[in-house]
């Protein structure tokens, strides 16, 4: 575990004091990365407020795809448990589902009939735009499509469910017409996607399709969250400020703007003059292009494009220390016990220490 100030080893107190000094004299301090457990995220967001800075998460883009569709037109959503015990019809969408959720097939128990499905028949499983081999492993009927064509495919499917014909391609039309029949015959169907591998338009089409299907039967959605506890951090952000990430406190109260407070833009435009980069789940380094001075709170193996002013290594939540984080298997926040507890510092405690060295404002957490 390294603690460095300007590349030289330093005591934790001194590093925290230097980080505080750096952040406090900034015009617009930015808290970025933000891949942390709930305690870390809470401390970071509170710090952003105290500094009148802004905060963003390295995977906000993915979370915001789902959120943007929701706040545009709403959402049907369920849990992994319900899919496991109830879904007689499962539509998997996109190429990287298994990367985003390695446990998926086992957790959803797709190879067995759903326990509470009254017919107790083998599940009907479809995979639109799967990676090679994935559909076979899942026992799914494969409907090939590159990611870019998913919205058109889903639009056609939606039209087919609504009894309209829109697509001249007879082969695909036939397959989609058949799928549309199967979806409408489902008792409790589910569509599974990951915002890491499908775009906003695809998600919009999925939600539109769910709305239509629920006119006659039951169908719902299972979004797979992205890495870095972005879903969990989004929840903490929601209750602390009312908004998800990409929120700023420059005027003393929170303002949310997905363009204005995007971390790389803030740095590259020169608006953010000091940054804090938090990456406790993996060795992610910042990707901004301008060399803004920054404080790094990261896992020990992280390699940086240019050195941080202050570097404080931390442990991984749920590995080095007990943590609360979003758990895809449960679709909620859960308390994870440390898998191999160590005395590595935690994001929350490091930020609290920095906070104690600030001279202005009051700490919330």
């Amino acid at each position: 575990m390294k603690i460095l100030v300007d590349g030289a080893a330093a005591p934790l107190e001194a590093a925290a004091a230097e980080a505080a000094r750096l952040l406090e004299q900034a015009k617009l301090p930015l808290i970025a990365g933000l891949a942390a457990d709930i305690a870390g995220a809470r401390a970071a967001i509170a710090l952003a407020e105290r500094l009148r800075g802004a905060y963003d998460h390295m995977y906000s883009e993915f979370l915001l795809r789902d959120l943007d569709v929701m706040r545009q037109s709403g959402q049907f959503v369920t849990t992994a448990n319900e899919v496991r015990v109830r879904a007689d019809c499962v539509v998997l969408i996109g190429a990287k589902l298994k990367t985003a959720w390695p446990d998926m097939l086992a957790r959803l128990d797709l190879s067995n009939p759903a326990r509470f499905d009254e017919a107790h028949a083998p599940r009907k499983i479809f995979w639109l735009g799967a990676n090679p081999g994935d559909a076979e492993e899942a026992g799914a009927v494969k409907i090939a499509a590159p990611s870019s064509e998913l919205p058109i495919l889903l639009a056609a499917l939606r039209a087919s469910v609504a009894g309209r014909k829109t697509r001249p391609d007879a082969h695909i039309d036939g397959k989609l017409a058949d799928l549309a029949v199967q979806l409408q015959a489902a008792r409790f169907g589910v569509i599974v996607w990951s915002s890491e591998s499908v775009g906003r338009l695809t998600i919009e089409m999925i939600q539109g399709l769910l709305l239509d299907l629920n006119k006659k039967t039951r169908f719902t959605g299972l979004p797979v969250g992205a890495a870095g506890n972005v879903t969990g951090v989004g929840q903490a952000s929601g209750w602390m400020t009312g908004f998800p990430m990409r929120t700023g406190f420059g005027r003393g109260y929170p303002e949310h703007d997905t363009w204005r407070f995007e971390a790389n833009r803030l740095v590259d435009s020169g608006e953010a003059d000091v940054a804090m980069w938090i990456s406790a789940y993996g060795n992610e380094a910042p990707r901004w292009k301008r060399e803004v001075p920054y404080v790094a709170i990261t896992t020990p193996e992280t390699q940086f494009a240019y050195p941080p002013k202050v570097r404080i290594d931390v442990g991984t939540p749920g590995v080095d220390h007990d943590a609360v984080e979003y758990v895809q298997n449960l679709m909620t926040l859960a308390a994870t016990d440390a898998r191999s507890a160590s005395d590595a510092p935690q994001v929350a405690s490091v930020i609290r220490l920095i906070d104690e060295h600030l001279t202005k404002g009051e700490g919330a957490c």
Partner: protein, 544 residues
């Protein structure tokens, strides 16, 4: 620290008191006047109104569904006051921090979040831990979960059901049990679109009534002070007074709390088939001493409905304004978020508004009718001050009534009601009654030994102004509000019960979870250390 609150009008119905006098506080408790001792602080509150801290028994202030609503509606909660925060995050619109500040500013010191799905309890408690100043509590929701429904269906008997309810409360750290449209969320998963008290859940052959009876009995058997808190069937539908009356009858004289009764007070009179049946319903409440209710008053403004009655919320999607809803099929209950704009020129909304006030005015016993807007379903809790003004003044009501559609007013008895709540009635309803209903013996009154939660108001003839910003508020004897402003943060506790039950049920649940979900029920635990606050919980005694 010894504090003397000197010369205020002390309104303390638990002690039959309404008169000028002093209140003494030592540390976190109310004490007898300390003769011969010089207080460390004296507050001259001459001309002010002194009450115990208020207790809200039903307000959706935290949890997964509330947070989804925040994220769904960024346009609804720009900072409520666009000014820099005096205390951290206190101007973040609809944040947990703002919630604690604004409740405290109104003199509230304890608030119950009434809808916590046991599997999402950790999330709810994390949010509660970020609500400053006030104490909290949660109701754990049961009644649409396969384990319970199977126990009832298989005739497992009341003891097994009580054990399961006890284990669930223990794990989710709740203060009581809520049941929301019993069986309907499960039925909705089977594509059922309407669900009555005697409708049967497919695959279980169990009526809603049977589920309610079983839970009601379990709560009694466990000695939980708060009776079963019930959100019954057919919420919001014209003619649903029949359901409410049938539910009251179904309680068979046993303790039952009926939530947000206003939403069940509708008849089918008039050419729109929608009228207020509040008078009839109030009569039934008056006649059944075992029943308590909270009103769930509607106020005219934009809000959002957040309910675990997923079937009802699904059916309400067409009324969403703005046009976007979230429908969540959860592990058991799930929920729905439907934004809604109550408008004073809308016939239906005007009838709803009037029928809530009729309930306040026609239910005689302020110990059995509770003050709520079902925040945010009827209106946000921030409208409480206006609602206090309405029930305290027939003049205030008359001026509101004048602006409503005449056709709607004719569907209610409100114009004929002259009752006005006194401060004494208000203190009964918002202090004494909730402490009794929840089993919080050291709250809701100002007897020596009580927790020093004290609210002091200006006796402002503008009652809404008076209740919006208290003059002084003490939480645990600590001055937290001065003239409506938070002086500093402190973090309160979530109050919970720990009923006794046979722990054999925990082993049975482990086997069940493994078998059905392939996971351990421990994954849903709420460890104290996870909440990041010192002493995040407080204990409420059970007694058989």
């Amino acid at each position: 620290m010894l504090i003397r609150l000197s010369g205020g009008r002390v309104i303390d119905p638990a002690n039959g008191r309404d008169g000028i006098g002093d209140i003494w506080i030592r540390d976190d408790r109310i004490v007898e006047p300390a003769a011969g001792e010089t207080p460390d602080m004296v507050y001259d509150v001459t001309g002010k109104i002194v009450m115990a801290g208020a207790i809200d028994i039903h307000s959706h202030i935290a949890g997964g569904n509330v947070n989804t609503a925040r994220l769904l509606l960024p346009e609804n909660h720009r900072a409520h006051v666009a000014r820099p925060a005096a205390t951290p995050l206190s101007t973040a619109g609809w944040s947990t921090f703002e919630t604690g500040c604004r409740y405290a500013a109104m003199g509230y010191t304890t608030v119950i979040e009434p809808a916590v799905p046991p599997h999402l309890a950790l999330h709810s408690h994390l949010e509660l831990a970020d609500i400053p100043i006030i104490d909290k509590g949660t109701l754990s929701v049961l009644g649409n979960d396969d384990f319970l429904l199977s126990l009832i269906r298989d005739g497992a008997g009341p003891a097994a059901i009580a054990d399961y309810v006890g284990a669930t409360l223990n794990a989710s750290k709740g203060i009581g049990v809520k049941c929301i449209n019993a069986g309907a969320a499960m039925a909705f998963k089977h594509n059922v679109r309407s669900f009555n008290l005697d409708d049967v859940v497919p695959a279980y052959n169990l009526s809603s009534r049977a589920i309610v009876e079983a839970l009601q009995q379990a709560v009694m058997d466990l000695g939980i002070p708060h009776p079963l808190h019930l959100h019954t069937n057919n919420l919001g539908i014209g003619g649903n007074v029949e359901t409410a009356l049938a539910t009251i009858a179904a309680a068979r004289g046993k303790p039952l709390h009926l939530a947000h009764l206003q939403f069940y007070s509708y008849g089918k009179e008039g050419k729109r088939g929608f009228s207020s049946a509040a008078a009839e319903l109030a009569e039934a409440v008056n006649a059944n001493a075992n029943v308590t209710v909270d009103v769930g008053q509607v106020m005219f403004r934009q809000t959002v409905t957040i309910s675990m009655d997923v079937l009802r919320q699904f059916n309400a999607m067409g009324t969403a304004s703005p046009k976007k809803s979230v429908i969540y099929d959860g592990d058991a209950n799930g929920g729905g978020i439907v934004p809604f704009n109550y408008r004073s020129n809308n016939f239906y909304n005007a009838v709803q508004w009037a029928s809530g006030l009729e309930l306040f005015l026609l239910i005689n016993d302020p110990m059995r009718v509770f003050f709520s807007t079902d925040h945010p379903n009827g209106a946000p809790y921030t409208t409480y001050p206006d609602l206090f003004a309405l029930i305290m003044s027939r003049e205030a009501r008359a001026s509101w009534l004048a602006d409503l559609p005449q056709a709607a007013v004719e569907m209610t008895t409100l114009p004929s009601l002259t009752r006005e709540y006194s401060f004494y009635d208000i203190a009964m309803m918002t202090r004494v009654a909730p402490s009794k209903l929840l089993g919080l013996r050291d709250r809701g009154h100002l007897s020596p030994g009580a927790l020093a939660d004290v609210a002091i108001y200006h006796d402002d003839p503008d009652r809404a102004a008076m209740f919006r910003f208290a003059h002084l508020v003490f939480k645990d004897g600590d001055l937290v509000i001065r003239d409506g402003r938070v002086t500093h943060y402190r973090f309160g506790r979530a109050l919970k019960v720990s009923p006794t039950y046979d722990s054999a049920i925990d082993r049975r649940l482990s086997t069940y979870y493994d078998d059905v979900y392939g996971i351990s029920p421990d994954l849903f635990k709420v460890p104290v250390e996870a909440l990041g606050r010192e002493n995040p919980f407080g204990e409420v005694a059970c007694g058989r």
